[in-house]
Subunit: 197 residues, 2 copies
Amino acid sequence: MGSMRSTDEIIEAANRHLTADPIASMAQLAEAAGVSRATLHRHFATREDLLRALGEASARRWEESQDAADIDAAAASGDPDRLATALRAMLTAFVVDAGDFGFALTDHFVNHLPELVEWATRLEEREIAFYAACQDAGVLRADLPVRWVSNTVYGLMISVRESLRRGDVARRDVPDLLLGTFMTGAGPTENDNGGRP
Amino acid sequence: MGSMRSTDEIIEAANRHLTADPIASMAQLAEAAGVSRATLHRHFATREDLLRALGEASARRWEESQDAADIDAAAASGDPDRLATALRAMLTAFVVDAGDFGFALTDHFVNHLPELVEWATRLEEREIAFYAACQDAGVLRADLPVRWVSNTVYGLMISVRESLRRGDVARRDVPDLLLGTFMTGAGPTENDNGGRP
DNA sequence: CTAATCTGAGACATCGATGTCGCAAACGAG
DNA sequence: CTCGTTTGCGACATCGATGTCTCAGATTAG
């Protein structure tokens, strides 16, 4: 009685295809999923339903990554070590998320659905509270507006997505690149004076 | 004999409106420009023409910012001071560009027009050569893949756009925030030695 | 095997956006 | 003021995508 291609498989195929071709039609998405257009509509009555499901999957993953890093408890604790660990864990998880849901990250239609906007706002505020705690504990610079920090992470997710999509860097290297760039920047490190003896 | 609303004014109005509503129709763009739909089509026969003009204006500004910072000469010189100055100048100019052309930065349609893709690729390669020179001179960390550096700047431009669009930070503060975040990261500044090698 | 269910293919109506055209009114240079 | 130009308005045809529907064939449970 179950479908050969589950709803989740269709979402995944659509997600993958939309990452490469963000303005693909329902017909193209059906083809990408290996099903007929009619069957696609049996799973998702409208295009909006499909995009919403995609956005919800993305938001769910985002939330799960926050949960897995336990950022609320870390923020409440105020412990620098714990905050630093949670920050590293969250950003590392985000790398995978950005690779898996890069499309939803910037798609105009998805980010315009009211329920998803609300959800995203909630997660963002939660994350901002975490960043603020990191600043208070000295894990992050306190002289940066916390919303700038949040937007920076968002922008770097897009950097990650592009780097993965274009194959500019190896997947396994990305977490360290992200962490390094976010925490200490792209400027020379103190021990590194550009190779001069 | 000139139109009341010049072509440039229409482009600017369209750009501004598309920043707020990225999926606006030609009718909405005409209204936003204070012009009838017919008149809009007298300036741009097709929607694609309008978007292309917008993308070209964006690419032109990008190129101008590279030119103004004189990144080619700086890269050729290999002089750390000159490279650092050029880098700061370019990124500062990019802040204005990201505010003015934030729409073209991520729009799927604009970024799929072949001629614009080619143009963007050229500018990107030019910029990458500059970053590589910065790495050689010790102005940027040499242990980061240069394309990662390039993608990081791209992502941070989106951070800038969002920060400006949502009013999270004052416009005048953005350049320093960008420079600071890009060069030294969001981690705590353990030891500020002001550029002493 | 049989029956229930799911799927693919195609036809169909609909809808919104696009692009074109003609004409009357407004405008501006002279 | 007058003439040539430009604009706005509305009508029109077109087009692609969407969503619905039917029916025949395939699949699978029992």
